[in-house]
Chain length 232, copies 2
Amino acid sequence: MTILRSPRLADGTARGIPDATVARLPVYLRALNALTEQGVGSCSSIELAEKAGVNPAKLRKDLSYLGSYGTRGVGYDVEYLRYQIAREMGQTQDWEVVIVGIGNLGSALSAYQGFSTRGIRVAALVDADPQRVGSTVSGLTVSSLDDLDAIVADRSISIGVIATPGDAAQQVADRLVAAGVTSILNFAPALVQVPDGVDVRKVDLSVELQILAYHEQRKTGTDSKEPKVSNA
Amino acid sequence: MTILRSPRLADGTARGIPDATVARLPVYLRALNALTEQGVGSCSSIELAEKAGVNPAKLRKDLSYLGSYGTRGVGYDVEYLRYQIAREMGQTQDWEVVIVGIGNLGSALSAYQGFSTRGIRVAALVDADPQRVGSTVSGLTVSSLDDLDAIVADRSISIGVIATPGDAAQQVADRLVAAGVTSILNFAPALVQVPDGVDVRKVDLSVELQILAYHEQRKTGTDSKEPKVSNA
DNA sequence: CCTTGTGAAGCTGTTCACAGCC
DNA sequence: GGCTGTGAACAGCTTCACAAGG
């Protein structure tokens, strides 16, 4: 069973883009959108890399996985490159997502302005608490978790967001998968197990702060034995 | 200017833990806390790795950067290991954070239950909008951005969270740095530039969904030429 | 015997440096 | 001349497989 994760060309379109690159393409997309708004028509890898906060060589390498969309000696056409990345990312269509758990975080996510311009549309809100079902949040009526199957099927939703407490996360994930969702973004502080073929990404708010706290601790040198190297 | 990022021992305590390991230590901590709650006193690397969702070899390698806290042939003492990791992560003290931007997301973060049990305390809320200043959110009074210097100094806050719109992020970051904050968690969809010695971590909600959308697109096989290898 | 701790191998991602092309 | 695209070197992370040691 050889895994063919080759960044090789198939029939013209690039396939098998590295994960690290995929994670950066949306950042490039945002930078290109900003350039378009500023009326900039073309740019070099150095300029774009600066806007995106990466090394120019890395940017060029990343783009090379998509194809050759630049012009040597000149740079990249902003609009053309933007379109090519958007197409590769599947952003030529809108992706409908369902948010499960309409507490503080779920409500904040449903109101988040940044989604609509990135091809993401919050299509439905779901909560297990009967008290919340029927209320309106960000212009959407909160549905019952029991209606999840119908909602997912009806609107052909393939992406679910879990914004519940940790102890409900696995149960919600199971129901999302049963309903036909094949990608999950999990904000709950818990691991969720899913069958093969389902993708899960996890965003853990307190872990991010704990990582910062670790570095902060090292800066201030809690055990002040060290020669206190200037943290360059 | 030689950067000494060596995972070498100094005076007994491990130094220079790899970034990837630091990012996982909070996950192990959470798993250990769960085991403690279940009354489990000791566990093997296999059990703990499963709870944390990682490969057992990776777990052991990670722990080896901290020291030798296990017993060969037996496993790890849950409470002892939990304490050692907590100490390494600087979680023996509470870290006070200030949240800037008390919109939907900022409000949700200020109410987030997961922080308090992880050594994170939301100490102050700040907003630039005079309409919001003075209101109470999650039991805290929202202060003016102009009072940031005093707040940071007064409570010796070293970590700031940016939950503003993208176009305000850089300005807020500048003010946080000027006030003395040396670690920033940025939720705004924008890059922020900070001087050396200040750490920034970025959480981008729409990027996470865009990455899922990319994989989703590939699953459904837009150009359905591929032999459809089962994604194990 | 069992499980940890760890050199070594392998893999992924980053950076360099330059050939290729406009 | 200038900038892209990319092989090759490099660095960091993961996984393996086994020696060390209770």
